[in-house]
């Protein structure tokens, strides 16, 4: 209950502000031609990006996991790194390459590039955990490799695909950097415009509620699509070795697609930034870089930790059987994720400025990250907990274990990789968060994202480059760690084959 109140702050804020407008004004604002156009454009963008992500993302993740490719771990990490590049920097570098880049399709292209990692991460981790015994059985029953994939593997990762779709869709709804630079007025851009250019907080809040409604529809659609859980996986499935398909054309195709993706989403943006830097290299104080990096890591880690703690009871209750309360809480969390950073920032300013010394402290900032990104943690955590088969829990219970011991000894170990994924996602996105950081950081504290912003705002992309580079390097480390289970498997494989 407490969690629900905490995370509803932005929503409460929107309702209070919006209610300052008269009913007729609200109706006029909502029904004017422009609002409808903006809504249409937002939904179109959402559908395109999510559809491409679902099909292409699943295919790429499958390739990463089931096809023999060179350096699978490095390729995997490189496809996750775009997560660490702030949206406006990413888009800026693309505009520098193609100045005419504009409009809906350009925005869809950029957003697919930047949200694909959500899909890849969610789906890859599920692939890695599928009970390989089941695959063996299916093969021995005479199913072709393709049929195994579509009939045995896909149904088991359906929930993860839908979690990935959800996260990428909510990202599209809340993104400001890419769409504003590409001149696509989505609901989030409208909200920002109303806040910034007419200081009309009430009108902005009305549109904010409309965005919330759009997110609500999207989230409910998603829960219909993900269907009922019928997956049950064993813990030891996790340890099983992966059989990669050894087919040359398929290997070449997969490698090429992965390389192309890394080229477009990581290499090219960095090429632009580094070449800007080299055009006019400027001395960057190592101490500035180090301080900014340190504050970024510590606040983002705190935020990730808070989000993790808050998501545990939610996700746990959600898997204990769906009570109306937990499902509402989970949905509100997800919808809140669609709100732009500036709304969450202002809501916490409004509520936090009454807290005296807590206001503009790193605690409130970390809490803001938790509110902003809790959905990432909840989505991954509940996907993780649903992996634990009810039978397993029942067996454990009949062996006389208490509920909490079942959770600690049975549920937790199985869910661990996905829990780690949730923490990682919050950490990565919190590191690059800008609008709420600007409003809530302790006065005088710089993060890597605020440093990048302050140089980019005066067109000094050359000086922003080192900070952006460092941000991605820092992001690479936890991402790399997350992929370690794969190497552990490989080493076990080696040991086994040496025997």
């Amino acid at each position: 209950m407490g969690v629900l109140i905490l995370i509803s702050q932005p929503l409460i804020y929107l309702i209070i502000r919006a209610s300052e407008k008269s009913g007729t004004d609200v109706i006029a604002l909502l029904t004017r031609q422009k609002t409808l156009e903006v809504l249409g454009l937002t939904l179109a963008l959402l559908c395109i990006v999510v559809a491409v992500n679902v099909f292409l993302g699943t295919a790429i993740a499958a390739g990463l996991h089931y096809v023999r490719i060179p350096y699978p771990r490095a390729l995997f990490v490189s496809t996750i790194l775009p997560l660490a590049i702030p949206s406006y920097v990413f888009t800026y570098t693309w505009i520098a390459l193609i100045p005419s880049l504009q409009g809906l399709w350009a925005a869809a292209f950029i957003l697919v590039l930047s949200t694909m990692p959500y899909m890849l991460l969610a789906v890859s981790i599920s692939f890695a955990r599928i009970d390989s015994g089941l695959i063996e059985v299916a093969r021995s029953l005479g199913l072709s490799k393709f049929a195994v994939f579509t009939r045995v593997i896909l149904p088991q990762v359906r929930r993860s695909i839908s979690a990935g779709a959800l996260l990428s869709g909510l990202y599209v709804l809340s993104d400001f950097g890419a769409v504003s630079l590409l001149n696509v007025e989505t609901l989030t851009v409208s909200i920002q415009n109303l806040f910034k250019s007419s200081y009309d907080r009430s009108a902005a809040s009305v549109i904010g509620l409309l965005l919330f409604l759009a997110a609500a529809i999207f989230v409910s659609l998603e829960s219909v699509l993900k269907g009922r859980d019928f997956e049950s996986k064993s813990a030891e499935g996790f340890q099983e070795r992966i059989r990669r398909v050894n087919n040359l054309p398929l290997s070449i195709l997969t490698t090429a697609v992965l390389a192309l993706y890394s080229l477009l989403a990581v290499v090219l943006p960095f090429y632009v930034l580094i070449s800007r830097y080299l055009q006019n290299p400027s001395a960057v104080a190592i101490s500035d870089l180090a301080t900014a990096a340190l504050s970024t890591i510590s606040v983002a880690a705190m935020g990730a930790f808070i989000a993790f703690v808050l998501s545990l009871p939610l996700a746990f209750l959600a898997t204990q059987g769906a009570s109306a309360f937990t499902s509402v809480t989970e949905k509100v969390t997800l919808m809140a994720h669609a709100l732009p950073g500036v709304v969450v920032g202002l809501a916490l300013v409004s509520f936090g400025s009454r807290l005296g010394p807590l206001y503009q402290s790193i605690f409130l900032l970390a809490f803001a990250y938790a509110v902003l990104f809790l959905a990432k943690s909840v989505a991954s955590t509940s996907a993780a907990l649903s992996l634990v088969s009810p039978q397993l829990k029942e067996v454990a219970a009949t062996l006389g274990k208490s509920k909490s011991r079942v959770t600690m000894q049975v549920v937790f170990p199985i869910a661990l990789p996905n829990l780690a994924l949730g923490v990682l996602l919050v950490f990565l996105t919190a590191m690059k968060e800008l609008p709420a950081t600007l409003m809530l950081r302790p006065t005088g504290m710089d993060t890597l994202a605020t440093e990048i912003w302050s140089y980019a705002a005066i067109s000094r992309f050359n000086e922003a480059a080192p900070y952006a580079l460092l941000l991605v390097l820092i992001a690479a480390i936890p991402t790399f760690i997350l992929t370690i289970p794969r190497t552990v498997q490989k080493e076990t494989e080696k040991k086994v084959s040496n025997l």
């Binding site: 910034k196 200081y199 006019n280 300013v349 009454r354 600007l438 409003m439």
Partner: protein, 340 residues
């Protein structure tokens, strides 16, 4: 036992907090001296930090500086209301100051403060004062343009077909269009915008992109703020082939907007705040601003940025800068003519 412990804890906690508050109040009364001042700055750190540092040295008061986007900081101050920790708000543009002023959150400052700044650049109710001037100009490539335009109205003529760049989504362009609407009426503004659009004006996202495009020869001239020629040249690390031009004196295209500062009514440290305002608007600081940031000083008689005419001879139109606050109507118009 547990309850007892909790009770003791609560009492101890209350004592500590109460004691701290008591000590805090005591020391406030005893010294009366301001040790720290909090300023929200919409001006970028790169340009303004050295000046703040100098004032800190002179006054012995430590500045807590919060950098951000001017409009977002204004929204933040509006949201904080009377709980705002800010003592001062330094903004890139007059519009954000106007919004805070309209909410009654600024204090009026005395006539003796900022007394060198021309009245034209001070809010009518003396709630904020301009610090530097930012002139709208047409940037152009010398040699490429045979006859320079004399008025913004000229830019809709065939001579400039497909040669002009504008940035309709940019705040400074929107402030200019707002002034155009306020001075000449919405109808005139609409005709001008439609005219410039059908004359093949190229759309850019930022002023700096317009200047870069002129340098590359993609367009011949563009409507920007005057300091972008320096900003782009510094970012690229080389000289560029772009110069600033002004329309005839009094033309709305010569609008001079200001960055400015106001002191918050909730602040208990108004004397120190006004001391900082006086420092920023003193002749010495203003001369340094002109050299460092290439913006205009708002004191008459201070030299203008190199190679540019002084503010008086530009003949900037008489416009209520604080009234440029609401650009909603401007944006609706830009959308209607298809420029946004």
């Amino acid at each position: 036992m547990k309850k007892l412990l909790i009770g003791v804890g609560v009492i101890a906690g209350a004592l500590v907090i109460g004691g701290a508050a008591w000590v805090g109040m005591g020391s406030n009364k005893a010294t009366d001296e301001v040790k720290e001042l909090t300023i929200y700055s919409g001006r970028s750190e790169e340009f303004i930090a050295p000046f703040f540092a100098e004032w800190e040295q002179e006054s012995g008061i430590k500045l807590n500086i919060r950098y951000g986007d001017s409009a977002e900081l204004a929204a933040q101050i509006l949201e904080e209301g009377k709980n705002s920790p800010a003592d001062l708000f330094l903004s890139q543009d007059a519009g954000s100051l106007g919004a805070v002023s309209a909410a009654g959150l600024f204090t009026k400052f005395p006539d003796s403060a900022a007394n060198k700044i021309e009245n034209k650049y001070i809010a009518g109710d003396r709630t904020w004062v301009g610090v530097t001037g930012r002139a709208r100009v047409f940037a152009y490539r010398p040699g490429a343009v045979t006859t320079l335009p004399q008025s913004v109205a000229d830019l809709t003529k065939p001579a400039y077909k497909d040669k002009v760049g504008i940035a309709p989504s940019n705040a400074s362009f929107q402030a200019f269009v707002t002034a155009l609407i306020n001075e000449k009426g919405e109808k005139f503004a609409e005709q001008w915008l439609t005219g410039i659009k059908s004359n093949g004006a190229k759309i850019f996202l930022k002023n700096s992109a317009i200047v870069e495009a002129i340098d590359k020869g993609e367009i011949d001239l563009g409507l920007v703020n005057h300091y972008y020629t320096w900003e782009v040249s510094e970012a690229l690390g080389r000289k560029i082939k772009v110069e600033n031009g002004f329309f005839l004196p009094g033309d709305i295209g010569n609008l001079v907007n200001v960055s400015g500062i106001g002191a918050l009514a909730t602040s208990q440290k108004n004397d120190a705040a006004i001391d900082l305002i006086n420092y920023l608007t003193s002749e010495t600081t203003q001369i340094a601003f002109v050299e460092d940031t290439h913006e205009y000083s708002l004191i008459s008689g201070v030299k203008s940025p190199e190679a540019l005419p002084d503010l008086k001879s530009i003949g900037s139109p008489q416009v209520d800068l604080g009234a440029l606050e609401n650009v909603q109507r401007t944006q609706d118009l830009l959308i209607r003519v298809g420029l946004l």
